[in-house]
Amino acid sequence: MSDHAHQPDDPEPATRRALLGVALRSLLLEKRVYSEDDERRVVERLEAASPAQGARVVAKAWTDDAFRDRLLDDGSAAIAELDLDAGAPLVVVENTERVHNVLVCTLCSCYPRMLLGPQPAWYKSVAYRSRVVREPRAVLAEFGTTLPDDTTVRVHDSTAELRYLVLPRRPAGTEAFSLRDLEALITRDALIGVTTVPAP
């Protein structure tokens, strides 16, 4: 698992600024603050996190009303039932016919990474962080998402102490879908709220 992280086209750090992290790592290994085995284990754990975990949560909520209620009431406790941990208290916000939710961290990049995998670069970008709270509909349009005028758009600003996850609307035409088929429809961007889950 860890080997495939080193892609042949990865740029080797070459500037002083880029080499700072390389230098720190080499000094910390030398001083035995941590070992290469410790590092490999952490990288493997981080790499294992992906939107598939968030999709499991959502597919379960779509098919189990009692679970959906528990999820909206206490996100952290509900995902623990699936052996998941967001690393910080989790609030799940539900999209409905009237309300669409979208997530940001205006100050930094807070994000339920164990449920969604690493943040996309745009989530961390100044352009997204600054604009989505000011003109969410324009930002959503850049992601190809157009909502009816009478839909309320709520933007949730995450912090290190509180993470959000969007519970998207279940698309029509999926009534007979298995959990696995539902999970396959659910994307990272829908769980951030910049897109919706399209009908299959």
Partner: protein, 110 residues
């Protein structure tokens, strides 16, 4: 940019900005390693938490903040805290970067 002196450099919510670059970027091998390094420093009890790391990132100059990549900011903040806590010295970090640069210039042309 000059019209926001009252804001810290990271406090961008609500400011005007241009189109969002939506291109996907898989983390590089080195980015995973830096991410792991910071988490291992938490685990070792050397760094407290992300709030501590962010304190240093938020003190960066607007130029540095704008020019550094995400994980370069993490490295910069990690270095400042490791020096502050006496785990590493500025001199040994700079010396190690010099060695790495010398190694790189020996094997690849810029």
């Amino acid at each position: 940019m000059d019209s926001r002196p009252q804001r810290c450099v990271h406090d961008v919510g609500g400011l005007p900005d241009g189109p969002i670059d939506r291109s996907e970027h898989a983390l590089t091998f080195w980015e995973w390693r830096i991410d792991a390094m910071i988490r291992l420093l938490f685990k070792a009890g050397i760094l407290v938490d992300f709030a501590e790391l962010r304190r240093v990132i938020e003190d960066l100059s607007e130029t540095d903040y704008g020019e550094m990549s995400y994980y370069e900011r993490w490295s910069e903040a990690g270095a400042a805290l490791l020096i502050e806590k006496g785990v590493l010295t500025r001199a040994e970090i700079e010396a190690r970067i010099d060695e790495l640069l010398a190694d790189a210039s020996g094997s690849v042309s810029p």
